[in-house]
């Protein structure tokens, strides 16, 4: 006798227990601390903060630990927490121009004020597994600020000299693209300049989406998705002739202007990575030719993300710049509706939920259709479903 499956509740509880055991792993091995995750898996923490849209290293570390290192699951945990937080204030735009960078490179100029500074990059490491790390011994740390071996940048990085700034105040190095801007060779940053940008977590996207909304979407978008889309533009699907004008990474202050004070106060500091991409020029009979821009920004050390984002941002402006469109990366709806890994992961994985009612309808239908074709009638036994009634 068939008995319908019961006990879903007990099954779920048992699954949660198994999950807890699997997360903990071998109990003989000491449990990970959040400090270890945050300090030694810092790029994982950065990615989870960026795509989770929440700058909190400790919570991100907790999410990674709880998610057994599954970063998309960790992003989801952080998002679900973020959504319960009240929105207390809107910060002033961060000023990356005032960053004291820990890394700063330009591919468009051999040298420039402030210098090229490699910082903590994998770029010129040889990707050889370091068995000394496996033995528990850290490789001898290099002197800070000096690359392990000379890169293609001929100059050793200079320490940041605030006085070197063209403006003379306590700022970081001038932006590389400012030198192009001074000659009017590049477009001005194409922002709407609104003090009240849309909030994509509060207002559903409508199309065409303003650039501020697009950038928000890309900033929390899945790195892998942006990477593939950015790559596709380089291979000809919406080519933009990009140059990495400047990439900088470091700490910036976050300010708010409390209504009762009327002036800005610093509430904290965040690490960000910014990429200014210089792209092929646009011009017309009436407008002189200028380079165009693509922009990327990510929480933490997220250089690959920021660069891919800048490529996609630029591709999404094709329409506005009067370029040919049709490549996936140029399609607003395609890019913005599919960039979010929490949405994508949920919907892909929902396929494992039971669908047997829909499938039954399909079974009935296909049997009915086959019953209607003469060969199928001869070959098939009676269809299980009697078919349809009026």
């Amino acid at each position: 006798m068939y008995v319908a499956v019961k006990g879903g509740e007990r099954a779920i509880e048992a699954a949660h227990e198994l999950l807890a055991q699997a997360r903990r792993g071998d109990p003989q091995v000491p449990e990970l601390t959040l400090q270890q995750v945050s300090g030694q898996l810092s790029l994982a923490v950065d990615r989870v903060m960026a795509e989770g849209s929440l700058y909190d290293r400790e919570l991100a570390a907790l999410a990674i630990k709880q998610a057994r290192g599954d970063l998309i699951e960790a992003v989801f945990l952080l998002r679900a927490f973020r959504t319960t937080l009240p929105r207390l204030a809107v910060t002033r735009p961060i000023e990356t121009g005032r960053m004291a960078p820990r890394r700063r490179i330009s591919a468009t100029f051999k040298d420039l004020p402030g210098g090229q500074m490699l910082g903590p990059t994998f770029d010129y490491t040889h990707r050889l597994l370091d068995f000394a790390l496996a033995a528990g011994a850290s490789a001898a740390p290099e002197p800070a600020g000096v690359p392990a071996e000379p890169g293609p940048m001929p100059r050793a990085p200079a320490a940041v000299d605030p006085a070197a700034d063209v403006n003379g105040d306590a700022r970081g190095p001038a932006r590389a693209l400012a030198f192009l801007d001074a000659e009017d060779l590049i477009e001005r940053p194409p922002m709407t300049g609104s003090d009240d940008p849309p909030d994509i977590t509060r207002d559903p996207l409508a199309f065409p989406a303003p650039r501020a909304a697009r950038l928000q979407n890309l900033a929390r978008g899945d790195e892998g998705f942006l990477l593939a889309l950015g790559y596709s533009t380089q291979r000809g699907y919406g080519r933009t002739h990009p140059f990495a004008g400047e990439i900088r990474m470091g700490e910036v202050e976050v300010e708010i202007v409390p209504e009762e004070l009327g002036f800005a106060i610093v509430i904290g500091e965040v690490t960000v990575t910014e990429c200014d991409m210089v792209n092929q020029f646009a011009g017309s009979a009436t407008e002189p030719a200028r380079f165009t821009r693509g922009y990327g920004l990510a929480f933490g050390e997220g250089e690959r993300k920021a660069m891919a984002m800048a490529l996609v941002d630029r591709a999404l402006r094709a329409d506005q710049l009067g370029e040919d469109t049709g490549a996936p990366a140029q399609d607003q709806e395609f890019v913005l509706y599919h960039s979010d890994n929490v949405e994508a992961s949920g919907f892909v994985q929902h396929l494992k939920l039971p669908h047997y009612v829909d499938f039954q309808s399909e079974l009935n239908l296909i049997r009915r259709i086959r019953a209607g074709t003469p060969r199928a009638v001869a070959a098939e036994p009676e269809p299980a479903a009697a078919g349809e009634e009026d």
Binding site: P208, H350, V357, D358
Partner: protein
């Protein structure tokens, strides 16, 4: 109830935003109202739209039933019911008649819904024109002008190719003679139940950020052609457990040789019929 969270999980501002969307959806039957869907602690695609709608309407006096595939004991239905038991402390039930709110995925209960009940559908893809036109800007224009010719062409192509309309579930309907609507992936067997349903039907799509509604007693017509009228499926078999000959049946493979049996997909309906039968035998 769990500490640290508001009643029914969502904060009051979010509920207000969703409530405004629900009211507009009810005022414009079948029209998909965009709303600022929140991240929920359950994955997108697993009922976040329905959960947000339920969380925004549910009160302490409500009795909630949650079904998936017609069944109260499927794991996702259990998980969602527990979520509301924990965050709202409401009564839950498996009885269709006792529920004031029924959240469902893929079915409408066999027991007729009554005036005063609310049925909340979990919707994966709300846009009925999406497979014909992937662009939101374009489908929005089509709805604005009630330009639904493409859907009829698609159905007609089905007839030319298969001799019938080859859609078994999520079968498109027109609400109150105006808006083309997806009834969510219910089998078309359930479509006639939506027509002039005495209960209020609310549809929530979390990932796609849309809410829509069918008010009570509103005409809901499944698309068809004069020479190919809409029909629902039926079974030669009866339910092996309760003997019903009029409910939607699940087909279950019972051994390695592929033998099948058929049982009601609606577990409450089925167990109610069995209880009545065993009561009659005992008497």
């Amino acid at each position: 109830m769990i500490a640290g969270y508001n009643f029914a999980y969502l904060d009051e501002q979010t509920k207000r935003m969703i409530r405004r969307a629900i009211l507009k959806a009810t005022a414009i039957p079948g029209y998909q109202v965009p709303f600022a869907s929140r991240e929920m602690p359950l994955p997108y695609g697993w009922g976040t739209g329905g959960i947000q709608v339920t969380a925004s309407i549910i009160g302490r006096g409500d009795t909630l039933k949650v079904i998936d595939q017609g069944a109260d004991d499927t794991t996702n239905a259990v998980s969602i019911r527990r979520f509301f038991a924990r965050t709202a402390g409401v009564r839950t039930t498996e009885r269709t008649r006792e529920a004031s709110i029924i959240q469902t995925r893929h079915r409408i209960p066999e027991t007729p819904l009554r005036e005063g009940q609310i049925i909340v559908f979990q919707v994966p893809i709300p846009e009925p024109l999406r497979w014909l036109e992937p662009r939101e800007r374009e489908t929005r224009r089509m709805h604005a002008h009630a330009d639904y010719g493409a859907m009829y062409v698609k159905l007609y192509e089905d007839i030319a190719r298969y001799g019938r309309i080859a859609t078994g579930y999520d079968y498109p309907v027109v609400v109150n003679g105006r808006y083309l609507m997806r009834p969510s992936p219910i089998p078309k067997f359930d479509n006639p139940k939506l027509d002039r349903l005495p209960a209020l039907a609310l549809f929530g799509a979390g990932r796609e950020k849309r809410i829509y509604a069918v008010p009570p007693h509103t005409p809901v017509k499944s698309l068809d052609f004069e020479d190919h009228p809409f029909r629902v499926e039926s079974w030669r078999e009866r339910c092996a457990l309760c003997g019903s000959g009029s409910s939607f049946l699940d087909e279950i493979v019972v051994d390695d040789s592929g033998r099948r049996m058929f049982v009601c997909s609606d577990t409450d309906y089925c167990s109610g019929r069995r209880a009545k039968r065993s009561g009659a035998e005992a008497a």
